[in-house]
Amino acid sequence: MPHDHDPDHPHALLPPDPALRVKALETILTEKGLIDPAALDEIIDTYEHKIGPQNGAKVVARMWSDPQFRAAMLDDPMPLLDDMGFYGRQGEHMVIVENTPEVHNVVVCTLCSCYPWPLLGIPPGWYKSDAYRSRVVREPRKVLAEFGVDLPEDKKVRVWDSTAEIRYLVVPERPSGTDGLSETELEALVSRDSMIGTALAKGLKA
């Protein structure tokens, strides 16, 4: 873009148009007393620093290690998630879906980008893309293969479509040879993508 400002007195870098529109909304609503700017900073800080897939990984590692906890999570996860402090915005109604040797689960939101924020944080760009949102329903095996997950033909694939009310967390299969590992060590094997279903736990082959 041509830009003819004086290099000795350059003005502040102009943010892109949508950034200015967001600022405009914030200013208008703040002036009307309808929002609290400090609350916005707090929300950003929470999702940038405090909440993320490490929460989901704790849940998975505990389900792998503790059969009673696992059974309870599959039955009614909300009280336990509440106990663990993983309850809140966009995680009010979680359903836990477990991968098995027979079934692989994968999660999408075809409407927009519903996602279990308290357990996984903010969704990655690809989760919000049209390519993923439309294709994973139509051709899940092909999409999974593009993520590097080549499933055997006899394994079923279940695609779960999230809604504003119900969010899903995939529990990947526990890799073999991990019997002696502590929960903390197990957590390190559980990636964000493995809890969406577009990856396996580390050390596991399809």
Partner: protein, 104 residues
């Protein structure tokens, strides 16, 4: 864990996200209503080509929020445009390195 990537690709994505969550918590709209409105915008925007999930996704988000706030009479289109251009002027008239403020 997967390699660290920025949670929000651009600061305005984060601001817009936080503003929307805050307005929801203030009771301006329910989250199910929001997702329906947002889904409609995403479907509209998709007609002009596949969305990549980055800027274009948040552009659709912003268009949705602007419409909701207009419908709720919280921020009219004209007010948003005036304020946007006031901010633009403020950036263009503030020397580099100085905090950008609206004229009092």
């Amino acid at each position: 864990m997967s390699k660290p990537t920025p949670i929000f690709e651009a600061p305005w994505h984060a601001q817009l996200f936080a503003l929307t969550v805050h307005l929801h918590e203030k009771g301006v709209f329910t989250w199910p209503d929001w997702t329906v409105d947002f889904g409609v915008t995403l479907a509209d925007h998709r007609l002009s080509g596949d969305l990549n999930g980055g800027d274009d996704y948040f552009n659709a988000w912003l268009a949705t929020l602007e419409r909701v706030l207009q419908d709720n009479k919280m921020a009219s289109g004209a007010a948003v445009e005036d304020m946007r251009s006031a901010w633009e002027q403020a950036y263009l008239s503030t020397p580099h390195g100085h905090p950008v403020k609206l004229p009092a």
